[in-house]
């Protein structure tokens, strides 16, 4: 295979992987701190895209002269604030009250919540059942050769994705809030006894996970230039699998899992062109095999070191 073609495949795979990693980080955070699996997380990403789009429409309608950078900032701001509020609301209304209930209840509740979010967009967003074009927002610079297209926006998205994950890592490992989060992850009771405000920690964790999801939503929109109400379902399933193969509760595991999944999908489509339609079957199949081999994920750590 030509070098340029291979490089293009790699770029596609990396972009896809970053998106999955961002979603997986959320799953892993929630599980690490609270031992819950929040299945609506994929749909939260979708809400991020739609909030961003609404802000873009609003800016276009009332301040058409706004410079591109300002618009981009407002779009991200809108997405993040809506989704963070949503995340905290979900934590307060669903996750914390179900703390003492069997894990299955939380799972079910969040799954239903995902359906509610999805259907709400479909029914209440203007023309919500159809695909919507998402603005590029970033400069359209690109370098093209016969087989390779390098785009500035891809690079920018990738780097900011990496930065955001680094930021999450920094908050968890280097700040007082992070210390509290880690304490709760390790032993909820003991952390409470030491004066950690449990509710605040839960809300902060959900705010952080949701913020990352919001960014993933905007990134998804910019990268594909198109959003639909149903995108969260598969994204959620993939993000969750990525978090699990990496080792649920471990941020690096989530990143690794995200890239592995994207890599598997790409391989599935490139190496088995006769069966490109089965690339998801292939990727999820390998996930099952990986789980059989390492049931606790690739980077499994003792429970005491989670997050």
């Amino acid at each position: 295979m030509e070098m340029e073609l291979l490089l293009q495949f790699c770029i596609n795979g990396l972009m896809l992987g970053m998106m999955y990693a961002l979603v997986a980080v959320g799953f892993t955070l929630f599980f690490g701190v609270l031992d819950v699996i929040v299945f609506s997380h994929g749909d939260t990403v979708m809400i991020g895209s739609f909030s961003g789009l609404s802000m873009y429409w609003w800016v276009n309608a009332y301040y058409p002269a706004m410079p591109a950078a300002g618009t981009a900032f407002l779009v991200v701001l809108a997405a993040v604030s809506v989704v963070v509020l949503l995340g905290m609301g979900v934590a307060d209304a669903v996750i914390v009250p179900l703390r003492k209930a069997p894990a299955l209840n939380t799972l079910l509740a969040t799954m239903m919540l995902g359906t509610v979010l999805r259907e709400s967009i479909r029914l209440f967003f203007p023309d919500g059942s159809n695909p919507h074009p998402f603005p590029g927002l970033l400069p359209d610079w690109s370098w093209r050769s016969s087989q390779l297209t390098l785009r500035f926006d891809n690079l920018a998205l990738f780097c900011s994705g990496a930065l955001i994950i680094a930021l999450v890592h920094f908050i968890i490992n280097r700040t007082r809030l992070g210390l509290a989060i880690r304490a709760v992850a390790q032993d909820e009771e003991a952390a409470k006894l030491m004066g950690v405000n449990f509710r605040l920690v839960v809300l902060a964790t959900f705010a952080m996970g949701a913020g990352v999801a919001a960014f993933a939503g905007v990134m998804n929109g910019i990268y594909y230039n198109e959003i639909t109400f149903g995108v969260g379902l598969l994204l959620g399933a993939i993000g969750f699998s990525a978090a699990v193969i990496g080792g649920l509760g471990n941020v690096f595991g989530a990143i690794l899992g995200g890239f592995i999944f994207a890599f598997l999908q790409t391989i599935g489509a490139v190496a088995m062109p006769f069966a490109a339609a089965y690339k998801d079957v292939f990727a999820f199949g390998v996930v099952i095999a990986l789980l059989a081999w390492r049931p606790t994920g690739l980077i499994a750590e003792p429970a005491s070191k989670r997050v």
């Binding site: 785009r151 990268y223 790409t266 490109a276």
Partner: protein
């Protein structure tokens, strides 16, 4: 406490009784008959399904206002979500209700292929208005299944002849893995090969909820096609076209009837949609004889959704049902038989004749190009007049 409970129960019983008698009396006075509609009312294809539902409803309204009509009609509509499982569920619900005499149904082939057995089992006549897979009528011997729209065989014949006449020779194929996508691909590639065109291998099958096509498209880019042919529906069409642009693929985009919707252009924006090609049975509403009148009465009803291209088919099919019921009365079997007698009928969508399989044997296929944010019939477009041009054949090499 107990006494109050009993009192409430009595009041409730009385109310129910009253309601029952009231309803019975009402039915006796008017001889209301029920007809059905099934199509995608939610989901990615709902704009088409809702437009068609409204058109069927319009036909019913018009008939109810006609003082010469013997019966009063009521439309009962259900949502198949463009999903086979949901479709079979609602088809069973409708067909098992003997009060419903017949239905106009289905935009999605995958759904129609699954539900035909249900209609046959319950003996309910159905006219398929929008699904074009050949198997729906030709894959069985069910008298209950008729279809007013042409099959995708006709569509791809016209499409392949047109593309070759424009000078294109090398085609890359992406198809969704539903029956709809696969059948389209099969006939298109067959016709192209027969006429000396080249189909580039491999062809890419994709699932109908896929988001990322960069891998497939990167591979396709390296194969250097002149045309990327996509058989599937609007949501995927939008994604593929927009990701082609991101990867800098300079090939002509050609879709099938499944992308010929306003949602396709709305989803891409006019710039990206510009020059995309699509093919569809029938002609645009405005071009039809009587189309203006149809549009006027549609708009007069204040429906929320615009009539999409499938709306006239649903409208004509529903009218045929009502005509036949007026003639033979409320009997499913007689209605089915009478529908087959429709030959060479002049309708809003052109001539209609049902053959032995219940297939309309005189379908017309139009070619469309997206121009300035609208689907324009090829012959009327600036592309045909030479003012604008599609991607140049051979430009890739």
């Amino acid at each position: 406490m107990a006494a109050r409970h009993i009192l409430w129960r009595r009041v409730l019983c009385l109310a129910l009784f009253a309601a029952f008698f009231y309803a019975a009396g009402d039915a006796e006075a008017k001889t209301a008959l029920r007809v059905g509609y099934i199509g995608p009312l939610t989901g990615g294809n709902s704009s088409i399904g809702l437009g068609a539902r409204n058109a069927a409803e319009l036909a019913v309204f018009e008939r109810n206002e006609d003082s010469g009509a013997t019966y009063n009609y009521e439309l009962f509509s259900l949502d198949d979500e463009c999903k086979p499982d949901a479709g079979i569920k609602v088809a069973t619900k409708m067909a098992s209700d003997k009060k419903i005499l017949g239905a106009v149904a289905h935009y999605c082939s995958a759904v129609a292929l699954g539900t035909v057995d249900v209609y046959h089992r319950y003996g309910m006549p159905v006219i398929v208005y929008g699904a074009v897979s050949p198997g729906i009528t030709y894959g069985n011997n069910y008298p209950e299944i008729l279809r007013i729209i042409g099959t995708l065989i006709n569509q791809n014949k016209v499409a392949s002849e047109f593309m070759l006449s424009q000078g294109y020779k090398r085609f890359a194929i992406i198809h969704d893995t539903t029956d709809y996508g696969k059948d389209h691909k099969d006939y298109f590639t067959k016709f192209i090969k027969e006429q000396g065109g080249e189909i580039l291998e491999p062809m890419f099958g994709v699932t109908s909820d896929q988001q990322d096509f960069t891998t497939e498209l990167t591979k396709i880019k390296s194969m250097n096609p002149e045309v990327i042919y996509f058989s599937g529906l609007t949501p995927l069409g939008v994604r593929i076209r927009s990701q082609m642009e991101k990867l800098g693929i300079d090939a002509q985009f050609e879709g099938v009837s499944g992308i010929k919707s306003d949602a396709f252009i709305a989803g891409l924006g006019p710039d990206l949609a510009e020059g995309c090609l699509s093919f569809l049975e029938g002609s645009p509403v405005e071009k039809l004889a009587g189309g203006e009148a149809f549009l006027r009465s549609y708009q007069a009803r204040d429906f929320k959704n615009l009539p999409d291209t499938m709306a006239p088919f649903a409208y004509v099919a529903m009218r045929q049902f009502l005509d036949v019921i007026e003639k033979v009365g409320p009997d499913r079997k007689k209605i089915t038989e009478a529908l087959y007698k429709i030959k060479n009928a002049d309708t809003l969508i052109g001539k209609v004749s049902y053959d032995d399989h219940g297939q309309n044997s005189e379908p017309y296929v139009s070619k469309y190009v997206a121009q300035d944010g609208q689907w324009v019939v090829w012959e009327d477009s600036e592309y045909a007049s030479g003012k604008r041009s599609l991607k140049k054949p051979g430009a890739g090499k």
